[in-house]
């Protein structure tokens, strides 16, 4: 039977739509003109400006610190929560689930402003600590959902079998459950890390002097900086994303062939 070519054409159009702005940014990053706009010649000076900008590296460092801290904490909290949700049913878990589900449907800006007012009310100084707290709060839900998805595919009789064979609960947990769940927990952590390093809105609300993260810095560059430097930064970030994704694909295939 003949299939419509419309879906394929739409997909191609969507991919063009997705990549056209990114290609343009890449080209513009080599434009010598200081304020962007008409092409005035090829230049690498914006990359030089970017790599000599100490602020970028400071912001990157802050981003990574917050990313690592919030990933680790939300991985632990989220995994524990997923266990509770999976093992127990009842009113408490229904409430627990609701609590974890809510941050997923609430717009970023609400979380940002409520945390800001909360910290102000408690007279907490805005810093990397407040940013990390905010990030952990929204990452927990994502990690929990991912790990929960894994647990649903998991056969708990293995645990019972191990205990029947004489292993105590802790050993069974450590030796059997954790290794089997590790990919799920890692996937949750990776998602949390991505969300954390990309977050702008919530961070913007709860960041204070000297705790500028990379997205917040990019935003201020968009307002005050010169466009070609942002373009150069975009190209660098794009390149990092591409390399990571392709590398993981490569590993993925390699792994399958070995298996």
């Amino acid at each position: 039977m003949k299939r419509s070519s419309l879906p394929l054409l739409t997909t191609i159009a969507v991919l063009v739509f997705f990549y056209f702005p990114l290609v343009l940014v890449t080209i513009e990053s080599f434009n010598a003109s200081k304020y962007g706009g008409p092409w005035t010649g090829f230049s690498l000076r914006w990359y030089k400006t970017l790599f000599t900008d100490a602020e970028v590296f400071r912001a990157l460092k802050n981003t990574l610190i917050v990313g690592v801290v919030s990933t680790l904490v939300s991985m632990v909290l989220g995994t524990v929560a997923a266990f509770a949700l999976h093992r127990f049913k009842g009113k408490l878990q229904a409430a627990h689930y609701g609590l974890i589900y809510l941050p997923l449907v609430v717009p970023d800006i609400l979380m940002g402003i409520s945390l800001l007012l909360f910290f102000v009310a408690l007279k907490v100084e805005l810093s990397l600590v407040t940013i990390s707290i905010a990030h952990i709060s929204f990452c927990i839900s994502y990690v929990t959902m991912v790990v929960l998805g894994r647990l649903q595919d998991f056969d708990f009789s293995v645990m019972d079998a191990a205990q029947d064979l004489g292993a105590d609960r802790l050993t069974a947990f450590r030796k059997i459950l954790l290794p089997l769940l590790a990919p799920g927990i890692l996937a949750g952590g990776l998602l949390a890390f991505t969300l954390s390093i990309d977050d702008f809105v919530i961070t913007f609300f709860v960041s204070g002097p000297g705790s500028t993260t990379l997205p917040v810095y990019i935003y201020s560059m968009m307002k005050h900086g010169s466009p070609p430097v942002i373009n150069a930064l975009s190209v660098v970030l794009l390149a990092v994303t591409f390399v990571l994704v392709l590398y993981s694909q490569f590993l993925n295939h390699g792994g399958k062939e070995n298996a």
Partner: protein
């Protein structure tokens, strides 16, 4: 293989975090300032002389700056508000009293300007730069330009003009063109000004502070409402751009350096204020930011050509038509309300 990627990522992160962690032992002077409002060379000189690191965060309106400080952004050592906001901050107990003994260069400040300020004795604030707002334009695209706020009513430039995203400045422009005071609290006058800005709004692309001036160079905008020095900085890069002060008059602002309560390096902040008002440093800053500082000794060091630049040092008769924006206390709410209605008007 599966476990490799996280390890690689963590290793990269660790390298970045630790390799850039060396400079943290130095003292850090945190400044909260308008964008493009310092000379990088002067800042570098200060960093070397005082073995410290200067970190600058920027804001684009006094209101935004005040809100951020009130919302818990403590820890800045220097803030650069406009005079009318300085008074709010003094009244709210947000500022530290300055120690004049640590700022001997106060003697260089022109007392004529200091007299205009409520804090004329400079107990809490030291004037930094004086600015006026005006219009930057591209004469190729706007051949019939006349220095008047009425340009914003001209439909031929629809979608290619911008107004400042600052309620006092933009309502002030409308008030001036109606021949009212920039500090009016009269409801009828404010209402008229509000309706005028709503008419302006139909023709503008955006209310904006910092991005718009760059749009003048790239051809995105033809007419931009902005601060004289900001636009002059653009003109240095793109000489085809011109600046004019509307003949109906405009607002004038004295931006001051203050030390907020909660500053971590009060001594270093005093040293910075004094350093900036060292005549040669102040002259270098003026030449870079294209604003006039009320520092008489520094003005003497400026090249003749720069002193003649009317965009930086406006003519006396124009200055006479300018007004300083004042804090209106509870009547500020009237401006907020008018500004809201402007923003939500279709």
């Amino acid at each position: 293989m599966r476990k490799l990627i996280p390890i690689v990522i963590i290793a990269i992160i660790a390298i970045i975090v630790f390799s850039s962690g060396k400079s943290e032992t130095q003292k850090i002077l945190r400044i909260y300032n308008w964008a493009d409002y310092v000379s990088d060379d002067v800042i570098k000189k200060f960093e070397t002389e005082y073995h410290c690191q200067v970190v600058i965060d920027t804001f684009d309106s006094n209101e935004a700056m005040l809100a951020k400080l009130k919302a818990g952004a403590t820890g800045y050592d220097i803030v650069v508000p406009t005079e009318y906001t300085v008074n709010v901050m003094i009244d709210d107990g947000m500022l530290i009293k300055l120690d004049p003994a640590k700022i001997p260069n106060l003697k260089n400040i022109d007392t004529d300007y200091a007299k205009l300020m409520r804090d004329g004795k400079m107990e809490y604030s030291v004037p930094y730069m004086v600015s006026v707002t005006g219009i930057g334009y591209n004469p190729e695209k706007v051949p019939d330009f006349t220095p008047s706020w009425s340009i914003f009513l001209n439909e031929s430039y629809k979608g290619r003009m911008t107004l400042l995203n600052d309620m006092r400045e933009t309502l002030g422009a409308a008030l001036k063109s109606l021949n009212f005071s920039i500090n009016t609290t009269n409801d009828a006058e404010l209402e008229e000004a509000k309706n005028l800005v709503i008419c302006y709004k139909k023709n503008i692309a955006k209310f904006d502070v910092d991005e718009a001036k760059r749009g003048l160079v790239t051809g995105e905008f033809f007419v931009v409402h902005g601060y004289n020095g900001d636009l002059q900085q653009i003109i240095e890069e793109a000489p085809n751009i011109k600046f004019a002060i509307p003949e109906e008059g405009t607002s004038m602002a004295i931006d001051c350096m203050v030390i907020p309560v909660g500053a971590k390096n009060v001594d270093l902040a005093h040293a910075f204020i004094n350093f900036i008002h060292e005549p040669e440093n102040c002259a270098a800053t003026m030449e870079e930011v294209c604003y006039a500082s009320p520092n008489t000794e520094a003005v003497k060091l400026l090249p003749e050509e720069f002193r003649q630049n009317e965009a930086v040092f406006p003519k006396k008769e124009l200055i006479a038509k300018c007004e300083l924006i004042e804090d209106l206390g509870d009547d500020n709410a009237k401006y907020t309300k008018a500004w809201d209605q402007i923003k939500s008007a279709e």
